[in-house]
């Protein structure tokens, strides 16, 4: 199921602007890796290079190598849509399809993959909603619009939608920043459960969250505006928050900077 990710000398550009430079990371299967750092440091950009969502922006491109197990995600002939079916993503703001019911939202990815049978879909929808800890709240109103749920429920619906296609890796771009503390807790618990099945990478501004849920933490920063973001260090979360290897990391997590 879960796969290993390795980036080697990864650079990402928006047009002529280099957003991140020379990122070298190994992310082990069935772990949660948190990416922290100040705004504009390139952590979200890095996350989006992992499933090739970066190149959706006009003019954006990536150089370097990104291995999923042993396969280069940016290798010649690799189809970006295939990569995105393997590496799911949850966004900062909950974005269920407003024109679809709760059921159809979860089934959307499967239908894109050509899954048609009602029984198969019913099972997958139930399994995914249970996997996202949302089933009990919505099982009686599956035909209702997904946009009618609360913010936290919508975000869990988006997680259900992402895991319905059984990806290898789950990327989460500040998934709780638009949610209240109770919904945030629900999602953090969910992440810990999902770790048994997926490799999870999460971008967060909330350092307590990184410390609570992640196994490893990577710290990104920029030297100055206009400079590319760099990965300062990545290590076990315990170590990053108690005894970081770099002064810049320590300054950031103790609040002396950023």
């Amino acid at each position: 199921m879960a796969k290993r990710i390795e980036s080697i000398g990864l650079d990402a550009y928006y047009g002529a602007f280099k957003a991140i430079e020379d990122v070298n990371v190994v992310i082990e299967p069935k772990t949660i890796t948190a990416l922290i750092g100040p705004s504009g440091c390139g952590k979200s950009t890095f996350l989006r290079t992992l499933n090739r969502m970066h190149e959706v922006v006009p003019g954006a491109r990536v150089t370097g190598r990104l291995l999923l197990d042993d396969e280069d995600v940016y290798g010649p002939g690799v189809d970006a849509t295939g990569v995105r079916r393997t590496i799911g993503m949850v966004f900062q703001r909950p974005n269920p399809f407003p024109t679809m019911s709760i059921y159809d939202n979860v089934a959307a990815g499967l239908r894109l993959n050509g899954v048609k049978g009602k029984k198969v879909l019913d099972e997958a929808v139930e399994r995914s909603l249970k996997g996202a800890n949302l089933w009990n709240e919505v099982k009686d109103r599956l035909p209702k619009p997904g946009a009618g749920l609360s913010g936290g429920q919508q975000q869990r619906l988006c997680i259900a939608r992402a895991i319905a296609v059984e990806p290898q890796v789950l990327l989460m771009d500040e998934p709780c920043s638009a949610l209240d503390p109770i919904s945030t807790l629900a999602i953090e618990d969910l992440m810990t459960e999902l770790k048994d099945r997926f490799t999870i990478v999460i971008v967060t501004h909330n350092m307590q969250q990184a410390a609570r849920v992640s196994d490893r933490t990577g710290f990104f920063t920029i030297e100055a505006t206009g400079e590319p973001g760099r990965l300062v260090e990545i290590d076990d979360t315990q170590k990053i928050f108690t005894n970081p290897g770099e002064k810049r990391t320590e300054d950031y997590i103790t609040g002396r900077f950023g």
Binding site: M53, R84, F97
Partner: protein
């Protein structure tokens, strides 16, 4: 008692009422600007209602005497001879031709318009999208008489050839029956109408498609959708109410289009599906334009009665569109 307590409590305003919050002088909490603006917008809304009612009343009042003199049945006959000594006229042929030509125009224009709109909003490189959108808007601004002249002097020849081809090869199709004479037909009128309503539908649909939130489109892409699948999953459903609205505007223009149809169509008061041949139909609006100058007073009344029917058809179309949008209201963004 200390000296401080001799100052009056600050919470009593000069007019003697308690409280420090600002108070309104009169019965409502509005300032003059609010009242003026509310009056203006209310007046605008009411005047619109008034105008619609006035039009309906005018049409009915003007039509009634002619309808009283009518020797045929207005709602069920196809004959149109209101200027005769014993006037006889029915709306069936005109209403049928109006609806048929408009629906054909819509069937031709809608797919192309959606293609144009999607190309501009999601496929064309940015350098191309801007100018292309401008050209589409420009097409919408061409006066209909110009379309009419172009239709009769240029398009008619091409349509004659196409019609002959269609009649020969797919003549079994109900719409393509023919007797060897082509051109100046309902087919030609429909094509001209289609070209006229295409830019309206394309332009409005493009605006709607451009408003689809990036987050919705990224949601689809992140599930592994190709560009077309993304458009099918996120863009088209989001834009559907807007596209229906644009379609209805286009249909409204096609139903009411007067001069272009009057120029290109060789009219006849018959109910016929043979759209390729001349003298196989007519439309309400074109008939009014062509017949008004030489009409007797009963003839004018008959034309006004036909206008009332056109008014009703347009109303029904709009109500239907509203109903379609309303039915899935909770699923619209």
């Amino acid at each position: 008692m200390s000296s401080l307590s001799t100052t009056p409590p600050p919470s009593v305003s000069p007019d003697g009422r308690a409280g420090t919050l600002p108070r309104t002088g009169g019965r409502s909490s509005e300032r003059r600007g609010d009242r003026v603006f509310r009056g203006l917008s209310l007046g605008a809304g009411l005047s619109l209602l008034g105008i619609i009612v006035a039009i309906a009343v005018f049409l009915v009042v003007q039509a009634v005497p002619a309808l009283r003199d009518n020797t045929a049945s207005f709602l069920t006959d196809t004959v149109w001879d209101p200027n005769a000594a014993s006037p006889a006229f029915g709306i069936v042929a005109l209403a049928f031709g109006t609806v048929l030509s408009s629906l054909l125009a819509l069937a031709m224009a809608l797919p192309v318009a959606l293609g144009v709109a999607l190309f501009i909003s999601h496929y064309a490189p940015r350098r191309l999208a801007g100018p292309l959108g401008y050209v589409v808007d420009l097409l919408a601004a061409v006066p209909s008489v110009v379309y009419g002249l172009w239709g009769i002097f240029f398009l008619n020849d091409k349509v004659i050839d196409t019609s002959a081809f269609l009649a020969e090869h797919v003549g079994w199709f109900p719409l393509f029956g023919a007797d060897g004479i082509y051109g100046r037909s309902v087919f030609l009128a429909s094509i001209v109408l289609a070209i006229m309503i295409l830019p309206i539908i394309a332009s409005l649909s493009r605006e709607v498609f451009l408003q689809v939130p990036t987050s919705q489109q990224e949601a689809a892409l992140a599930l592994g959708a190709t560009r077309w699948e993304m458009i099918r999953t996120a863009v088209l459903p989001f834009g559907k109410p807007g596209v229906i609205g644009a379609t209805m505007l286009g249909l409204g223009r096609a139903l009411g289009e007067t001069i272009a149809v009057a120029i290109v169509l060789s009219p006849a008061f018959v109910v016929s599906l043979d759209i390729l041949t001349p003298n196989s139909g007519n439309t309400i609006a074109a008939n009014i334009a062509l017949g008004f100058a030489e009409a007797s007073s009963t003839g004018r009344g008959a034309l006004i009665a036909s206008g009332l029917v056109l008014f009703a058809i347009t109303l029904v179309v709009n109500v239907l569109a509203r109903a379609i949008i309303h039915r899935r209201r909770e699923f619209t963004a």
